[in-house]
């Protein structure tokens, strides 16, 4: 009998360790919610958002040039202590990395890559961002913009797969909100000067906004900062949807895009600036 007891004790301990070790990937703080099979199914209406670099491409293809000093300085990376700030600015820096790389500002791009690695590691995504070979490959290809672009897409793919494989897509929603706001902020400065030139690109960017807001609404958190950003984004969406040119346009975004006027652009710009400031300013401790 003693033998059986010992055997059972040994087997139980072994199984406890193996069961606990089954999913050893680091999890980000999420409130404990009992999940049922029904909770694990996808939404009736879901979406696939583009990569931050695609957002930057959209503006670049419309003629957006590089303006020094617009991006969030990479040196701010150590100021983000709260996880939500780190996630939002992970998105901001993803856009800044793409903006610099696509415009040949490779040294700045490299700084943003390092900032991404730091913030990514801090939010528990070290498996994606701790790969030192990324920086090495980046350094080797500083002169080859196509290769740099390829590398950014590759990093993004790694990031996506990791989040999806570890049921962490809700983090992607926060990160993408930061990336999108940074991108429309970068576009605003030039677009205000020439609304006609950038109107279509802006309308395309805004076609993503309702889904971004939806992603934030799904956050399993009542973090004050997320609540505030959600409110500002909702305000931006309401303002956009309320613009006369947008109201006149079809609900089908494949039809003729609304033409944004100078006044429209000014209204959007004010809100974008406020939102961006909110995102890049670290939470007071």
């Amino acid at each position: 009998m003693k033998q059986t007891t010992k055997l059972l004790l040994f087997a139980s301990i072994t199984l406890i360790f193996s069961a606990c070790g089954g999913k050893s990937q680091s999890k980000i703080e999420q409130p404990a919610v009992e999940e049922t099979l029904e909770d694990e199914v996808s939404l009736e209406e879901d979406y696939m958002l583009p990569q931050p670099i695609t957002l930057v491409h959209l503006f670049k293809d419309a003629g957006l040039s590089f303006t020094p000093g617009l991006t969030n300085p990479a040196s701010n990376k150590t100021r983000y202590v709260k996880k939500v700030d780190q996630l939002l600015n992970l998105g901001v820096y993803s856009t800044d990395l793409a903006y610099c790389a696509l415009n040949g500002e490779t040294q700045s791009a490299r700084e943003y890559l390092t900032a991404l690695q730091l913030l990514g590691t801090k939010v528990g995504l070290e498996k994606v961002f701790s790969d030192k070979t990324i920086v090495d490959r980046f350094d080797k290809n500083l002169e080859d913009l196509d290769k740099l672009e390829e590398l950014i897409y590759e990093l993004q793919e790694k990031y996506d797969s990791y989040l999806e494989g570890n049921d962490l897509q809700s983090l992607a929603a926060v990160e993408f909100a930061g990336a999108w706001v940074e991108c429309v902020y970068l576009g605003t400065t030039e677009a205000k000067k020439d609304p006609n030139k950038f109107s279509v690109a802006f309308v395309d960017q805004f076609s993503l906004l309702s889904n971004i807001v939806k992603g934030l609404e799904m956050q399993p958190t009542d973090d004050k900062r997320i609540v505030r950003i959600k409110a500002l984004m909702n305000d931006l969406l309401t303002t956009y949807d309320g613009l006369p040119s947008v109201k006149k346009a079809s609900d089908n975004s494949n039809f003729d895009a609304p033409v944004l006027t100078q006044d429209d652009m000014n209204q959007l710009s004010r809100r974008i600036l406020q939102l961006r400031k909110e995102i890049i300013t670290p939470t007071n401790k």
Partner: protein, 169 residues
């Protein structure tokens, strides 16, 4: 009291064995999804990865529809590979130019009971099809992919996998 320890340990043993098997099932399900994702990526014909979306569902007593909205924001050709291999029930795929609540949305194409095959959509082909149906449009920027999932048993989690890539101009 003497019997308590062995009985208690047997209880723990059974409990852990069960949860360990659930974890293994879960891991094996995820491994299968990853393999399907790779199949889809392989179909992208060298297009640069843009994103993926796994749509999870549980077959029920009634048919259900799940929609994934995708964006073709840039010029160049987008490739979308879809696999319903991890679905035990028939799945139809219907492609629309707008969401369900938009009146007069256009059905671009329909694939019935896709089975194990990977469906590959190409934006250029879809654009041509779209222009033939709605001449005033230039191109698709927004595509709504409906999965019509038939009723069925058993009640376990299943999935449809989508992977998108783009070939720049």
């Amino acid at each position: 009291m003497k019997k308590f320890l062995p009985n208690f340990l047997i209880g723990i043993f059974v409990l852990i064995l069960t949860s360990s098997s659930v974890l293994q099932d879960d891991n094996s399900f995820e491994a299968q999804i990853n393999a399907i994702k790779q199949d889809c990526k392989d179909k992208l014909d060298g297009a640069r990865y843009e994103g993926s979306k796994v749509t999870y569902f549980v077959p029920g007593t009634q048919k259900q529809t799940k929609t994934v909205e995708v964006f073709f924001l840039l010029r160049g050709e987008y490739y979308v590979a879809i696999s319903a291999k991890k679905a035990s029930v028939p799945v139809n795929i219907r492609l629309f130019d707008a969401a369900e609540d938009v009146p007069e949305r256009t059905l671009l194409k329909e694939y019935k009971n896709v089975g194990d095959q990977v469906i590959l959509l190409k934006s250029e082909e879809l654009n041509e099809l779209y222009r033939s149906k709605v001449p005033e449009v230039e191109r698709l920027k927004n595509l709504f992919v409906d999965y019509q999932i038939a009723a069925g048993k058993p009640p376990v989690k299943e999935a449809v996998v989508m992977v998108m890539g783009r070939k720049p101009l």
